[in-house]
């Protein structure tokens, strides 16, 4: 049996899914968290049923790619659990009626039940059940209330015999249902709601956005640096370094293995940044430079996601984003890109038009550095002075704006206007918050970590075989001539295709000037996205558009890297 979870965006489908199946999923407080579908299984008596978490839709007439995914699923399901938001019954029932007209067995989960009381909403569940002719269960995915009853109702689901209606007739039907089943008690605007509304007023909203983004940035930096300075770096220096030195002694006669595992010794000691062995720099980059920032980034972005601030930021930035051929909602995948470009490119599915998705995905893959790369920028460039880190961000931001404006004028197609629901502010729920943080962190360790170690292994072997020298001589005109980097830096650019963090780490032993390091960081950030991002770009944009995107990228990185080199070298940095 195949059970589909369907409903409007941001009603808690993923929360219910997680409760039913025990499968961990991302839950946030903004419409469009789920853009693909997730499968899981649940026990139903002595049977197992497949449960599918479908992206949210407002109607069965698709408006964006995520909607199309949802509608295709409908044909496959044996039963639909229609999750509806009890605090917004009227609007949610529109989709319910459309589902009932499809004549598939439906049960209704009246979710967010816990929020109805304080919002002055009183729904007569029995009456609603009678009027709709299918089982209705009040639930709260957050507290787990009603989930058991929902499961028990599954065998009771049946396809109702409702004739298909036109849009306006449907609203009349809904009006009648609401009149009988729902009572609203009048309620005054509370003081905190006025405060909440300040975040979407032009002046106060802009000020608050600056404060919130600045606080977020410094929180990420503070948490990341604290984890590094007080926990991870001491562990490596005091516990791991002595172990490696012992190993170094043991491997003294097997130079090939020693140089791969431990790498160069600097002044007879292991230098975790420059030694470049798999067990020295490889582990250090992964656990003591990148991992802390992955944790701190997702901790902070998780708060922004779960409170419901992001859609408001989308409203504030809408006008700016229109200059780039996007609308405000594109800021959400863009922000996610600062964590990892892969989910960010996937997240562009929440945008309605092909053109928007192309522009957003191209801008993300060129101008938005992922957390791993940023961690390395903080670590390596930050050591030369924080102003150079700021310079890198400023350059990337300008690239984002200018490239966006250019694409706005040149890419054909249309970009629709913003039309979004703004969820109420909510407190993050510990269970889902920590679950999400864990999923993202363990995802990094599982998927990125082997590539980090593997690429350092490959680098060492290629060095020993002299392959890099050949590439370096071949590409010297661009790398040295245009970007002013030593020709060995090309190895880093090649490795950047595997992992950006390792690539930037490869610049460390090259004794670059600060200007060269800035150019190198910018080039690495903009040049070919890592292989994982590349794969999603192909999947989401198609080969042809991906090639266009790459073409834009190559031209941009040549120009920007060249200009930056000219400017910085004339300042003799």
């Amino acid at each position: 049996m195949k059970i589909l979870l369907m409903g409007n965006p941001n009603v808690g489908k993923s929360g219910i899914f997680s409760r039913l199946t025990g499968v961990r999923v991302m839950v946030s407080n903004y419409p469009g968290t789920t853009v693909g579908y997730t499968r899981g299984q649940m026990k139903l008596g002595d049977q197992t049923a497949d449960v599918i978490d479908v992206p949210g839709v407002y109607t069965l007439e698709p408006t964006c790619q995520a909607d199309e995914v949802a509608l295709k699923m409908l044909d496959e399901g044996d039963l639909v659990i229609n999750v509806i938001n009890a605090t917004n019954l009227e609007r949610n029932l529109y989709l319910t009626l459309q589902l009932l007209e499809k004549k598939v067995p439906v049960i209704v989960a009246l979710n967010m039940w816990d929020e109805t009381a304080h919002r002055g909403i009183n729904i007569d569940v029995d009456k609603l059940q009678k009027l709709l002719g299918v089982p209705v269960v009040a639930t709260s995915a957050v507290t787990g209330e009603g989930i058991k009853k929902l499961v028990q109702s599954i065998p009771l689901a049946r396809a109702p015999q409702i004739a298909a209606q036109e849009r306006d007739a449907r609203w009349v039907t809904i009006g009648n249902i609401i009149k009988e089943a729902q009572q609203l008690s009048h309620r005054h605007h509370r003081w905190y709601e006025t405060l909440a509304d300040a975040t979407v007023q032009p002046l106060t909203g802009a000020l608050l956005a600056l404060v919130i983004l600045a606080v977020s940035f410094f929180a990420i930096r503070f948490i990341g640096e604290s984890l590094i300075n007080y926990i991870l770096d001491p562990v490596f220096q005091n516990l791991w370094a002595p172990v490696l030195m012992k190993l170094n002694g043991l491997l003294a006669n097997v130079e090939f293995l020693r140089s791969i595992l431990i790498g160069k010794l600097i002044d007879g000691q292991i230098d975790f940044v420059q030694s470049f062995g798999v067990l020295s720099t490889g582990l250090y980059v992964e656990f003591a430079m990148v991992l802390p920032y992955i944790i701190s980034f997702y901790l902070v972005i998780g708060v922004l996601e779960d409170t419901g601030y992001l859609p408001r930021l989308a409203v504030l930035l809408d006008t700016l984003m229109h200059r780039l051929g996007l609308h405000g909602y594109a800021i959400i995948p863009t922000l996610l890109g600062f964590g990892c470009n892969v989910p960010a490119v996937l997240g562009t599915r929440m945008l309605e038009s092909k053109r928007e998705r192309f522009i957003a995905a191209t801008l993300i893959s060129i101008a938005v550095p992922c957390a791993a790369l940023q961690a390395m920028i903080f670590g390596l460039v930050g050591a030369r002075g924080i102003q150079y880190v700021i310079l890198i961000y400023a350059v990337l931001f300008m690239v984002w704006i200018i490239l966006g404006v250019i694409m706005h004028f040149t890419v054909r197609g249309f970009s629709p206007e913003l039309l979004i629901e703004i969820p109420p502010y909510r407190l993050p729920q510990w269970r889902t918050f920590l679950q999400k943080l864990w999923m993202r962190t363990s995802g990094f360790l599982r998927e990125a970590a082997p590539i980090i170690l593997g690429s350092i292994l490959v680098i060492n072997i290629l060095y020993l075989l002299g392959v890099f020298d050949a590439i370096a001589n071949f590409t010297a005109p661009v790398v040295t001539g245009v970007w002013g980097l030593p020709k060995e830096a090309v190895t880093a650019i090649v490795i950047g295709f595997l992992r950006k963090d390792v690539a930037l780490g490869m610049l460390a032993p090259l004794a670059l000037s600060t200007g060269q390091l800035v150019v190198g960081s910018v080039v690495l950030a903009m040049f070919f996205p890592c292989i994982a991002t590349f794969a999603v770009l192909v999947r989401e944009l198609g080969i042809v558009n991906m090639l266009k995107s790459v073409g834009i990228m190559i031209v941009t990185v040549l120009i920007v890297g060249g200009l930056l080199n000219l400017i910085l070298s004339s300042l003799t940095l």
Binding site: Y58, T59, E61, T63, T87, N88, E90, R91, Y94, L95, R119, R167, W171, D197, V200, Q201, P202, G205, P311, A314, V315, L316, D318, T319, H327, G328, P416, E417, L418, L419, I420, E421, I422, P424
Partner: protein, 84 residues
């Protein structure tokens, strides 16, 4: 009918309420707005609008949504208090 009896969402002052009377648009636009609960006969409160023809934020049935300037201009409202 005077000019000020009906206005569109962009002309409505923030913080005021009114009733939606019509959506001037094609089937597609009406459908999209309807599915979000923006449709004739609904009470609407305007929360804010952004400068430079930015989006308009409104509240219907206690739920907030934001719509672009061009769409907001097509939503016609009869204000509760006549506008001077």
């Amino acid at each position: 009918m005077t000019d000020k009896e009906f206005i569109n969402l962009t002309g409505m002052p923030s913080g005021t309420t009114g009733t939606i009377t019509a959506i001037e648009g094609g089937y597609g636009l009406i459908n999209r707005l309807n599915s979000l609960g923006i449709r004739p006969c609904k009470k609407v409160t305007k929360i804010s609008s952004m400068i430079f023809r930015g989006p308009v934020t409104i509240e219907i049935d206690g739920n907030q949504m934001a719509l672009g300037y061009g769409m907001a201009r097509r939503v016609i409202v009869k204000p509760d208090d006549p506008i001077k």
